[in-house]
Amino acid sequence: MPLPRNKTRNYLPLVLLVLALFPVFGSSYYNELIAKIMIMAIFALSLDLLVGFTGLVSFGHAAFFGAAAYSVVLLSPKYDPGNLWLVLPAAVLTGAAVAFVVGLFVLRTKGIYFIMVTLAFAQMIYFVFHDTPLGGGSDGAFLNVKPELRIGEKVLLDLNEPMQFYYIVLAFLVVAYVFLRVLLRSPLGHALAGIRSNEHRMQSLGFPVFLYKLASFVTAGGLAGLAGFLSACQYGFVTPEILSWHQSGNVLLMVILGGMGTLNGAAIGAFAFVVLQEVFSALTKHWQLLMGAVIVTVVMVLPGGLSSLPQRLKGLLIGGGNRNG
């Protein structure tokens, strides 16, 4: 399998170039859309670490994303820009810390239980923000002024500035991608792959499986926190809906849509999902009907996700029989 992987990686500099040059030609609407896609791509990458690389199907990933987004609002001063040095690490830590606590419970379960328990815990956190006055209840809360990065008196980066925001998101996407690439090549990454394919064998080989899974869970939570931070900064407000199980379902959908277990796939999935959402909601108020139909179709006829599509088409054109082709 190394050949196709190398082949896809050659496109990466091109993709990066397009993303970097996009704002020069794009309108502000499309810049915002691409920024949203990149944020969702970070979110999907973080979930892919769990679903695709550790074999943990989490249906509660929005909890970490949302808790981090809320932390940005809660930690920023009301009428002044927050300090990026403080707010960003705090958001990532919030995501990781919530993931740590939730992980201690949910990682005691496996398979189908894990799916249900992650969903239930995420729902619990949703209720914390929805029912208590902590984050403004069901109305949510506003981030009046977005954080900025300053040294002394000089403002280096200002997230209120759309263009700067776009490039910050792009930079973080690259950081997240490279970080996961390195992590997956590390001994930890290999151990996670081992756990994914045979947990019991890893256990009997003497690997502390629970700790490895917890490490993966916390890392994914922290990365989801990064995405949550960026999302709060993009829209300037948070509502309990960003913690809802629809959000968890959507990000799982991105991972699977793109083909799980590949970093590129998660990003492609995020792109496809947001674009579909955008196109469908322009068509009709009942856009979720179309989205549902797409999901059902993908599951029924395209089990490997969108990134398996070229392979399948090739298979069909060349003669179908050769699956490895």
Binding site: F59, Y113, M116, A120, L252, M291, I295
Partner: protein, 288 residues
């Protein structure tokens, strides 16, 4: 809290718990026997409630509405199993999660297209609309007692069906070894279709039964679904008995949580789940 208030809360807890059991038993049966995780299960509950609303408005009689609704639910269950679920038995849970998530979106939008997004009510049938006087100021509606009685009756019927009938024997055998049962000449596809239809019908029936006391509103299925997951996690996947105990526990936790600490009542159920997970990660009861 004086005695009659306590009694009323206890009856409410019982009624809520039993209703949850009705929905969760379908979920746990479909998973325990067919190995399918069905996120759309809550949608069937919603469908049931909306059918009760629409059919009562048409026929003017809840009983007629429920009978027609049951027939429709069985049909829907068979159709879905035949068209979609039967193709997913060999796939992993992820595909099932995804398919049923897609179905939730579809059902929710179809509901919006067909009935709209308003909140509706279903009148309580006249025969059951009375209340029992408990003290001078407090009374308890007969319909809620009726609901509890129906749920208990159904639980007994289900127990009998699974434990003491030929069909139940085939269902149990099918859950432990599909191929072997097939080799013995039993039509396992049909058995699975029946189980799935039964699961759908149980959820829809719970929705119909609940429609007169809870209003009929968009998103009602999702709320029930997540609580049902908690029931299944606490009770143990595939255990109908466990689902009953867990559902009653949750009924108690939720109802008395609302009395004791109204602001945090939404969390009580999840705290209970976390405690059970620490104590027994596999649920209190593992299997039937």
């Amino acid at each position: 809290m004086d005695f009659s208030t306590f009694l009323i809360q206890l009856l409410n807890a019982l009624q809520y718990g039993l209703l949850l059991f009705l929905v969760a038993s379908g979920l746990t049966l479909v998973f325990g026997i067919m190995g399918i995780i069905n996120l759309a299960h809550g949608s069937f509950y919603m469908m049931g409630a909306y059918m009760a609303f629409a059919l009562t408005a048409l026929s003017g009689n809840l009983l007629v509405a429920i009978l027609v609704g049951i027939a429709l639910s069985v049909l829907i269950g068979f159709l879905l199993e035949w068209a979609l679920f039967s193709r997913l038995y060999k796939r992993d849970h992820l595909d099932q999660v995804l398919l049923t998530y897609g179905l939730i979106l579809i059902f929710e939008e179809l509901r919006s297209l067909l009935v709209g997004d308003d909140v509706h009510g279903v009148p309580i049938p006249e025969l059951l609309s009375a209340s029992i006087q408990l003290s001078e100021t407090l009374s308890y509606p007969v319909y809620r007692l009726f609901m509890s009685a129906v749920c208990i009756l159904l639980a007994i019927v289900m127990y009998w069906l699974i434990r003491h009938t030929r069909l139940g024997m085939m269902i149990r055998a099918g859950s432990s070894n599909r191929e072997m049962v097939q080799a013995l000449g039993i039509n396992i596809d049909l058995i699975y279709r029946i189980v799935f239809g039964l699961g759908v019908t149980l959820a829809a029936f719970a929705g119909m039964l609940a429609a007169p006391v809870s209003s009929v509103y968009p998103g009602m299925g999702n709320q029930v679904l997540i609580i049902c997951f908690v029931v299944v996690v606490i009770g143990g996947v595939g255990s109908v008995w466990g689902a009953l105990v867990a559902a009653l526990l949750i009924g108690l936790a939720d109802t008395f949580g609302k009395v004791i600490a109204p602001d945090y009542a939404g969390l009580a159920v999840y705290v209970l789940m976390a405690a059970v997970l620490l104590w027994r990660p596999e649920g209190i009861f593992r299997r039937i």
